[in-house]
């Protein structure tokens, strides 16, 4: 391929075959051991029921549910998604079955997965978040709460909590005292000037792990009809288009906040191929979540595992932790 021939060749050491070493893909997320770093991003795999036809769910490192709110939510009007260059916009509006139906109808399915489950929790008031997190303390299969304070597609709550360090401190602190058994993962918004400020606020208030990033607030306009394409007006941009920004943000938070604090990062933002997954590990991530690519290829997580193992063998890495943050800091 002409485009490839013009690229500089790989450095010499990259060509060394090291198939004799064993490759351990397992990682530790704040005390929860995952068989591998790969998991679906919240909202892209439902509650696992829909994907059973396509994927060996037991091969996932962890399962992350769609956002759960205290009460059921119908979500936004149609149209909710549109494809853009190397990405997509969505404005689903946290449509979900609500806490009660989640506990009675969805948890039994999640129990059968045999992998740790992280439940993404959303709300409009601190009390809402606390009520849901409290109920999840008693669900054995749940090992972590992912605090969604970064949804760009709901009018109240969501991103309002996620862009102000003071609010992040307040809500993370409130959840900290509720999450005794479950680990507390705070999902950060990229819609801020300096993501290390919001990351530091979450860590100061007791977050066990950070997941980053949620989608970028964005907009597409139908120029013929002269109105926004999405019924919600704006939406969240995801997919390969946002990957380089996500990599930069993960690296910044790793260097300035997470490494010193010993807080692991679960990274997401446009991962499609194994090289993208490796890129996030090198930037400083310990866990990896895939969203948009799952819509195209429901089997992508197992392919990424194989690709990651391949990479580690070729480079002589025996454990994922050795790859995490293994790039020089450029300043």
């Amino acid at each position: 391929m002409a485009a490839r021939a013009m690229q500089p060749g790989p450095p010499e050491e990259m060509t060394i075959e090291r198939n004799d070493v064993t490759t351990d893909l397992s990682v530790d997320i704040a005390g929860v051991r995952l068989a591998n770093p790969l998991m679906p991003a919240s909202g892209t795999c439902g509650y696992a029921d829909e994907y059973a036809d396509f994927v060996d769910l037991e091969r996932l490192g962890a399962f992350v549910t769609k956002s759960i709110t205290r009460q059921p939510r119908a979500g936004n009007d149609y149209q909710r998604v549109v494809e853009t260059r190397a990405g997509m916009l969505n404005a689903i509006g946290l449509a979900n079955v609500g806490l009660e139906a989640f506990l009675t109808e969805k948890v039994p399915l999640l129990r059968r997965l045999g992998v740790p489950v992280f439940v993404n929790v959303a709300g409009t008031t601190v009390e809402d978040y606390v009520a849901v997190a409290e109920a999840l303390e008693d669900v054995d299969v749940v090992r972590g709460v992912e605090l969604n304070i970064s949804c760009p597609n709901v009018r109240a709550g969501g991103i309002q909590f996620g862009t102000d360090p003071e609010q992040i401190r307040r809500i993370t602190g409130a959840l900290r005292s509720v999450c005794r058994r479950n680990i507390l993962i705070v999902k950060l918004s990229p819609n801020v000037t300096d993501v290390t400020c919001t990351a530091a606020a979450a860590v100061d208030a007791g977050a066990d792990a950070l997941s980053m990033i949620n989608t970028f607030t964005a907009m597409a306009i139908d120029v013929e009809r002269r109105r926004p394409v999405l019924a919600n007006g704006t939406g969240g941009l995801s997919g390969p288009a946002i990957r380089p920004i996500a990599v930069r943000m993960v690296h910044e938070v790793y260097e300035h906040v997470a490494r010193q604090a010993g807080v692991p990062i679960i990274a997401m933002g446009g991962i499609q191929h194994a090289r993208d997954a490796v890129e996030f590990l090198l930037a400083g991530a310990t866990g990896l979540a895939v969203g948009t690519a799952l819509f195209v290829d429901p089997g992508v997580l197992t392919h990424l595992q194989d690709g990651l193992a391949d990479y580690m063998r070729r480079h002589g890495f025996t454990a994922v932790e050795q790859v995490v943050g293994a790039v020089p800091v450029m300043r």
Binding site: P10, M14, E17, E50, A74, R80, M88, F295
Partner: protein, 312 residues
């Protein structure tokens, strides 16, 4: 357990341009699960990256993937495109599916260049199909790119002994996605065997908005006139419809007014097709809900809905 739906490697068996905007694509899909008319597939409208591992980049020691692979090499779409099944043939383990698509953008334009033998990735079959009501008489109302699923349905209905009348419309003669016997096309809503893509016993009325072929007007206008002329009106009939939303709304109104059972295959923008992205919502009557309605998903609850249930 994984037999009802999945991701399959397909090969292009044949592709033919039907009219100015529509193409008929036949794919050979070994092991494609049982399917029903009204179901659809999600088609990846770009080449799988490598035939051995279709979802991953080639990553050998001497050719590690570069930052620019693959998203900068070509202008390609990312998401799959939902396309309804227009027909299917099985012999032994071999299955062939027919798709009729309209060229509307980057994905479908790329698809027109897929040569026989090319590999494509198919996810499916998805959704609930039509629920045929046994023998009797059926009227199939289709508009434009909504016609293809009704061709598959006509075949299945005819096989089951149902009398099929098709009323198919397009904007103009050059946009009719069908093989038409021009000499046999009636200029009034009196069905005739004028479409080669329908079972031999089926009869059809064709309409064009501009009157260049068949009856001038829309398919819903022709349905009204055909019902008026029909002995017994709507009695003993079941209607099945797919097409642009204005046509489907008109047909739904006509059928509801006459107590004529009517199933509609809807179209929505969707990302996954598997029930997870929650984007393809349809407003449906729900007496259990506080406000009297609920969102259903076009991909897994549909794409076929009863006309009487729809709030659109």
């Amino acid at each position: 357990m994984r037999t009802s739906r999945g991701v399959f490697a397909a090969r292009v068996a044949a592709q033919r341009q039907l009219c100015a905007e529509h193409y008929r694509l036949t794919l050979s899909v070994p092991g494609f699960p049982a399917s029903r008319p009204g179901q659809f597939i999600q088609l990846l409208c770009r080449p799988p990256y490598a035939s051995s591992a279709p979802r991953e980049l080639t990553w050998g020691p001497d050719s590690p993937p570069q930052l620019s692979d693959p998203e900068l090499i070509d202008r390609q779409t990312m998401l799959r495109r939902p396309i309804s099944l227009a027909g299917r043939r099985d012999s032994g383990d071999a299955s062939e599916i027919d798709l009729i698509y309209r060229v509307v953008g980057t994905a479908t334009r790329w698809l027109t260049g897929a040569e026989p033998g090319a590999e494509l990735s198919v996810l499916g079959p998805l959704g609930n199909g039509f629920a045929p009501r046994g023998a009797g008489e059926a009227v199939l109302i289709g508009g434009g790119v909504g016609i293809p699923p009704l061709l598959y349905l006509a075949e299945t209905l005819a096989d089951g002994g149902t009398n099929v009348t098709a009323i198919f419309g397009a904007r103009s003669e050059g946009l009719m996605p069908l093989r038409v016997d021009g000499a046999a096309v009636p200029r009034e809503p009196a069905p005739s065997p004028c479409i080669a893509d329908l079972p031999p016993q089926a009869r059809a009325v064709l309409t064009t908005d501009d009157g260049t072929l068949g009856v001038a007007g829309t398919a819903s206008d022709a349905l009204l006139e055909w019902l008026r002329r029909r002995e017994g009106g709507a009695a003993g009939l079941t209607a099945y419809c797919c097409g642009p939303e204005p046509l489907m709304r008109a047909v739904a109104d006509i059928c509801i007014e006459r107590n004529l059972p009517c199933q509609l295959a809807l179209e929505r923008y969707m990302a996954c097709g598997m029930g997870t992205c929650q984007s393809c919502v349809v407003k449906v009557r729900d007496t259990n809900a506080e406000n009297g309605w609920a969102y259903k998903l076009c991909c897994t609850d549909g794409p076929v809905f009863e006309a009487a249930d729809l709030l659109w």
